[in-house]
Symmetry: C2
């Protein structure tokens, strides 16, 4: 290369550095989106170097770098994408991912036999859906693959090894991968082909020349940040996805109210059944998520306590879901729920849940229509991923009538022990009773699935509702344990 | 018991429930302290039942229940108390701990041979210090041991086993422990004797009668909450702890500035040495914490980048420490740092650190004197715990002169790439240069230890300072790896 060309590139780099720093400052001031930069690539193509250099250019306080080891035993206890979800950047920030969520994919493509090469269709689908979901939820994704021809790679390795001061940079894994240059390239091409999509395009940058590769990466990053500012206010037209089931029955009254004595016996039996189920050895291959939804005073708390009464405090956790904190608001919607997913053998009971988006946030107008409409499919995918990794998911809609709700509000107001349970918000929500019911029907029809069913429990008689809830929980667990031979 | 006595107890329980709920609401409104309730006890003495009942009485949204399994392989990767630290309640909240941080202690007392019975002195010391630190940092600790005589325990187990509906409540571990009633009681007595202290008294409640035990626990909880409100404004007199070392030399200028060419060679050599060290197999039994402190523009960022340059992005994390978030402010001071401690084999580089309390918070008056004075010993204990579990800790004070700092501020103001690095706060801190220096000397003298040494690097010549930092990091790692045969 001529000296003049080199000088030109250096000037371009300096300008890019300036532009990127300005864009980062602007992103912090106008946190309309987050940016996730995934850098994958061949050994010695410069992944570490590029990330290191970007960290030197930018203010590292507002950037998280994530590198995920191949999934070990501990990671395998959680759904495959859980750890990536937990590591997402808040809006206004950037995160850099060393290989990102492609680590396992690429490793599988390399290490398995020819037959098992690459990821299964479902694995690919999961990655694609993750990215389209993030993209819709204002996380921009820049995916860069640093390629390197075999000859340059060989020369680079030789040069690094020849020098005592740089020899340490080369790992055994690097050498192993370099020997299989063809196969690595093929696996990468497969991966890129399968996971390139409008929401998250792959870009290939040649890693052979250090300056050129840095120019390439920095330009892609700059262009994407600029596009983010240009686009962040645009909103697409949205339409409700088609329902999965016909309109569900929405009884508020059980067929027959159970008597007090019968209730006590039935309750103890069901609690015993539940307790034995979650203590079975086989349950340790699973986890349990119970989600409770329903209008205020529908009886969620009481039903949850009848369940926890049967459990050991060491095994479960109740996660009460309220309005998101400021930090949670800056993340993709499902982020905070991913962080509550139980490990194998454990139980999380959600007192309200991720359905808030299509219930309270929809009815009260806290979420844009585009966001809550999108949520049905996001939630389906979320629950499918849980089910795929052995998490048993059961969802309860406690259906209380308007009249019964009023009675309970009044009773609470008079009870010093329960007064704290009714506040202005609750009365406001009550005015919207009919809108909530419509939202609940839409929700039930669009998110009732085989692997994450809704149970509608008539809420006007608390005792009956509790038995229905307990029985349904037991049945779903039994079904899952029977299947998991 | 007479029917009248039973009625009286029921009324007392109802009143206590009312009082506790009021106190919980008050605690949320006046978040002057947090409360940690530890319930330990003999099998079937009612630990689960008591916690369950308290959760039914109170608003569970603001209570976390924590139960820790015996430390498994994953937990052993972190210092023993790390998981308890991470689970501390914020002020205004309560947390209930099933056996709490005594799980391992009690298990060790039971399972080990007579010789190893009980915990080592240091283990006990750690627990005592944890509790006195929390207590000083406005976490009230209520420790209750539910006792149970052998006969009642036997009868209770028999009754539970006789009934098909309750049989599931009994685990094999319960039976095993019940058979060793004497030994369990002795271990508990040892534990209570060794860890009872003014900051966290043990209370023993007889678990034989369900109502009486609930009355006992609820009263203790109520009394402690009331004491918390009565006390939360009281402040003790405080005195600086004696220094550990004589006044350290505080050079801002190296003995000799290194030339540019020599610097490049020396830097590459040290980076290679560091890189090889953290890739040694033996390093995986350790972890590395590097903490950087120094005035603004002292060169922390540059020194950190020279270190990260030698590392693989997958192995390290830079944790920039700024003003605490609102959530962090509600927790004990060291809480947020415990959450950043690296796992075995990993590296965390702190860009500013837990020393903020005795530097910026002291100098600017952000912390009460009682709090920053206490911090020296808290920090020593914190670092000792890290060292005990194999974490290599090295701390750097980059010592820049007032004149050189001014020069750098001005240069930054003129450089569009670095402008963002100087803000009003920095200029304000600069005015307090002398106060910072005094605070730094106090800090160095009181927290320079064998296992977590301070390195004072003369900061006026960046290149020299970087080499000193790198060399010291390498030496400390080498020393630790040599010792860990």
């Amino acid at each position: 290369m001529s000296a003049a060309a080199a000088e030109r590139e250096k000037r371009q780099l300096a300008r890019l550095r300036d532009e990127l720093l300005d864009l980062q400052v602007r992103l912090r001031r106008e946190p309309g989106f987050a940016l996730a930069l995934v850098i994958a690539g061949a050994p010695t193509a410069g992944r570490s170097e590029v990330l290191n250099e970007l960290l030197e250019w930018l203010d590292p306080k507002y950037i998280h770098v994530h590198a995920f080891p191949l999934r070990d035993a501990a990671a395998r206890k959680a759904p495959p994408l859980a750890r990536y979800w937990r590591a997402l950047p808040a809006r206004g920030r950037m995160a850099f991912y060393f290989t990102g969520w492609y680590e396992d994919y690429l490793a599988a493509a390399l290490h398995d036999g020819a037959k098992k090469r690459g990821a299964s269709r479902r694995e690919i689908e999961r990655l694609r859906r993750l990215e389209s979901m993030l993209s819709a939820d204002r996380v921009r994704i820049v995916k860069i693959y640093l390629s390197l021809d075999a000859k340059t790679q060989r020369k680079r390795l030789e040069r690094l090894r020849a020098d005592k001061l740089t020899r340490w940079r080369i790992t055994r894994e690097d050498l192993r991968l370099a020997k299989r240059h063809e196969r690595v390239a093929r696996a990468a091409a497969d991966c890129i082909g399968a996971t390139d999509q409008p929401a998250a395009r792959w870009r290939v940058v040649d890693g052979a020349d250090e300056r050129k590769r840095m120019l390439g990466v920095a330009r892609l990053l700059r262009d994407d940040l600029q596009a983010g500012f240009a686009q962040s206010s645009r909103r697409r037209a949205v339409r409700l996805p088609p329902p999965l089931i016909a309109a569900p029955a929405m009884p508020t009254e059980p067929e027959q109210r159970i008597g007090d004595d019968d209730y006590d016996v039935a309750l103890a039996k069901l609690q015993g059944r539940l307790a034995r189920l979650v203590r079975r050895g086989r349950f340790r291959k699973h986890a349990l998520v119970l989600a409770f939804e329903g209008m205020d005073a529908a009886g969620k708390g009481g039903a949850i306590r009848r369940i926890t009464h049967a459990l050991d405090v060491r095994q479960y956790r109740v996660a009460p879901i309220g309005a998101p904190t400021p930090e949670e608001s800056l993340h993709p919607y499902l982020w905070r729920f991913w962080r509550c997913i139980p490990e194998r053998g454990a139980i999380t009971i959600f007192d309200r849940s991720w359905y808030g988006r299509v219930l309270v946030e929809r009815v009260r107008g806290f979420a844009d229509k585009a966001d809550w409409v999108r949520a049905y499919e996001e939630i389906r995918e979320f629950e499918l991923q849980l089910a795929e990794s052995g998490v048993i998911v059961v969802k309860f809609w406690l259906n209380v009538s308007k009249a019964e709700q009023l009675k309970r509000f009044k009773a609470r107001d008079e009870d010093p022990l329960k007064r704290f349970k009714v506040d202005e918000e609750d009365w406001k929500n009550r005015e919207l009773y009919d809108a909530y019911q419509r939202a609940a029907v839409d929700m039930l029809r669009r998110t009732h699935t085989e692997h994450a069913p809704w149970i509608v429990a008539p809420g006007d008689h608390k005792q009956s509702a509790r038995l229905i809830v307990l029985a349904a929980a037991c049945e779903q667990i039994e079904r899952a344990l029977d299947r998991s031979d």
